[in-house]
């Protein structure tokens, strides 16, 4: 496992948002949002409740198509109008409520809706091997059996399965919505290791968290949303914990963040 790296902003971002706006009726939730997510890096997406994190990832996922602005995927402009578009590009979202079926086993859950078949018969052998390969690649060592029912897994193991499911599909961008919320110490450890490994295997990772310790442990970049505006999208080496918290709560910190006049206008 490599430590978070301070890479320059080189190469093409896997995902780039330019001037994205999104309104629900009269309420504008996202204002002119810019974001760059690089392959092989973990980008922490932070922000207070209501800052627009959920809306932003749902826009990326195609659940809430954006009103205006540009989305570039691997440098190409794309339009994402539904979850299937996002999946076709290689974007996988792991939502907080995980969406696993308790009554199915690990392999069955990982291939749910995209089962491999020979004729009409399910190809259990190939699915089990692929699931095992993916889990091994992510160095998941905490599962007793890939044929365990998901109902018998701990919270951390469920999160692991949900993340592995996202990786199985040759995804390029994986968005994790608070994967460590509600987990114990040991389980948080497992999941953070996994998040780091995702990036180390070449994925672009967006990691949403309220926990600054977790954010500083695994992230390469941090993107702070403040009331629907992107206060900063910078390498994490350029900020400390206090500055990130200021960005989250006030929208600016020192010479980072939203310009004072704009910040004042937002707060009204």
């Amino acid at each position: 496992m490599s430590a978070p790296t301070d890479r320059p902003e080189d190469g093409t971002p896997t995902l780039e948002l330019r001037g994205v706006n999104k309104s629900f009726g009269a309420i504008q939730v996202l204002h002119d949002v810019h974001l760059k997510v690089y392959p092989g890096q973990v980008t922490a997406l932070v922000g207070d409740n209501g800052a627009g994190k959920s809306t932003l990832i749902k826009s990326i996922a195609g659940i809430h198509p954006i009103d205006s602005g540009d989305v570039l995927f691997e440098g190409r402009p794309v339009t994402v109008t539904g979850p299937r578009d996002a999946a076709a590009l290689g974007i996988e979202i792991v939502y907080q409520d995980l969406a696993l079926c308790d009554n199915l086993d690990v392999v069955q859950n990982m291939f749910l809706g995209r089962e491999r078949k020979t004729g009409v018969v399910l190809d259990e052998i190939s699915m089990e091997q692929a699931a095992r390969d993916t889990l091994s690649k992510l160095s998941v060592r905490t599962l007793k059996s890939v044929r365990q029912l998901v109902s018998s897994l701990s919270g951390g193991q469920r999160q692991t399965v949900a993340i592995a499911k996202a990786v199985l599909w040759e995804s390029k961008l994986v968005v994790l919505d608070e994967p460590t919320a509600a987990l114990g110490v040991a389980q948080t450890r497992q999941v953070l290791d996994l998040v780091r490994r995702l990036a180390d295997t070449g994925h672009a990772v967006v990691f949403i968290s309220h926990n600054m310790v977790d954010v500083f442990e695994v992230s390469d970049r941090v993107a702070a949303l403040y009331l629907g505006r992107m206060a900063a999208d910078i390498p994490i080496s350029q900020v400390n914990r206090g500055e990130v918290i200021e960005l989250i709560t006030a929208g600016r910190s020192g010479n980072l963040g939203i310009a004072p006049a704009e910040a004042a206008a937002v707060e009204v």
């Binding site: 399910l122 060592r141 890939v146 193991q157």
Partner: protein, 428 residues
């Protein structure tokens, strides 16, 4: 949530250590497998245990009370005929219960379909295959209707099928006429319950079933082993094959004994209803266990939202299970009509549905959705049929039959609910 905290040491191992899944690579001994099974049962995953216990206990009870009639080959053949329509109806309900839905109209739907068949046979003089086809088409159409109301409009299945429970009874009454009955005398249809397989053919089929089962089990075990996948110990596979073989041979032997009441006539062989049930069991088990449709049925029953996000068309699955349920209800109605030799306005009413729901639940299918197998219908159906058959032999009064059968269903539902709570508490 689960109380097990996975050992953090395993994730801290230095690089180069093989990945986890130790349970998948070890081939435990028979004793370890037995202990694992006991753990599962204690954890609330009862499987087929209640039904098997029920069959054994009730069998011994009625044998003790009526030693000269209950365990005779004649009564066993009668039991098989009695169980067949209950089992087939319950097979359809397993699909519906897997989604956590219910079809209260399944019983009367079997009556409507049987009435359609009987009218075509008796009044229109249609050949048997036309009549049977019409009954099954009727079942499919009814299932589409019910499924659309539940899946597309979104009315709770309880309400839809309660309304249809009344509605279809009116339909049967209109078809057959008040107080009337329509006889079913077509020789092919009556043969389902009146005729038996020739004894030799019965033995050949029995051996064939055993050989097929053994081959499939052993082949799967070998493939899983050679490819390094999760597999059971060989001893467990062999014990399972031996148990199935013993049951099949025993049943075949009992049903191959001459059971004619008079001397000079020979009445022996497996009733045709039995291979029909076995055929449906194999077909539907394949659909549920080996196709993506079956997998999606379990997924929707386990977590409909997860299934939807996985790209599964939940509405289509909902409609499909009601179509399967009503189609099997139609087949059940045909078998019941063959057994009784007629269709009456009350066919499929009364306790028909209660028996079938009871069969599925006693067999181990959960009323809460997500858990159940086709074989549950067979095992549970046998329990219900033994109760009905045994009480008939004892000559208990009708009121007692109702109370006892209702009580058994309540007991099964309680076991289901308690097992579910237990499973939630122990994380199984």
């Amino acid at each position: 949530m689960s109380s097990t905290i996975s050992a953090p040491t395993s994730s801290q191992e230095p690089g180069g250590a093989p990945s986890g899944f130790e349970a998948d690579r070890t081939s435990d001994s028979l004793g370890a497998s037995a202990r694992a099974y006991v753990d599962r049962v204690r954890g609330g995953d009862l499987g087929a245990l209640p039904a098997i216990l029920g069959i054994v206990v009730l069998g011994l009870l009625f044998f003790a009370l009526r030693p000269e009639t209950f365990l005779t080959p004649r009564n066993m053949a009668n039991l098989a005929d009695q169980a067949a329509p209950i089992i087939i109806l319950a097979m359809g309900l397993v699909f519906i219960l897997l989604l956590g839905e219910i079809d209260l109209s399944a019983g009367v739907v079997s009556g409507v379909c049987a009435a359609v068949m009987a009218k075509l046979l008796a009044d229109a003089g249609a050949p048997w295959y036309v009549a049977v086809l019409a009954a099954i088409v009727t079942g499919v159409a009814i299932g589409l209707f019910t499924g659309s109301l539940v899946g597309m409009i979104g009315i709770p299945s309880f309400v839809v099928t309660l309304a249809l429970f009344l509605g279809w009874q009116g339909f049967t009454l209109r078809l057959i006429g008040e107080g009337g009955t329509v006889p079913v005398r077509d020789p092919v249809i009556s043969a389902i319950s009146d005729r038996n397989l020739p004894v030799t053919l019965g033995w050949i089929l029995a051996l064939l079933v055993i050989a097929l089962y053994a081959a499939l089990q052993l082949n799967r075990w070998r493939t899983q082993r050679t490819k390094g996948l999760a597999h059971q110990p060989l001893a467990v596979v062999l014990v399972r094959i031996a148990v199935i073989a013993a049951i099949v041979l025993l049943v075949t032997a009992v049903l191959s004994v001459d059971r004619a009441p008079a001397v000079g006539v020979v009445l022996a062989g497996i009733p045709y209803a039995v291979p029909l049930v076995i055929l449906l069991l194999l077909l539907l088990t394949f659909v549920l266990g080996r196709t993506s449709f079956g997998r999606h049925v379990y997924a929707v029953g386990g977590n409909a939202e997860a299934a939807r996000r996985a790209g599964i068309n939940v509405t289509k699955i909902r409609v499909a299970v009601f179509v399967i349920g009503s189609t099997l209800a139609a087949i059940s109605g045909i078998v019941a009509a063959a057994r009784l030799g007629s269709v009456a306005p009350g066919s499929g009413g009364g306790n028909t549905l209660l028996y079938a729901v009871g069969a599925a639940v006693i067999g181990g299918t959960s009323l809460f959705g997500g858990r159940g197998r086709v074989r549950d219908a067979v095992l549970g159906g046998l329990v219900v049929a033994i109760i009905a058959n045994g009480l008939g032999l004892l000559g208990t009064e009708a009121y007692l039959n109702f109370i006892i059968t209702g009580g058994v269903l309540l007991l099964a539902a309680s076991v289901d609910a308690l097992a579910r709570r237990r499973a939630a508490a122990t994380g199984h």
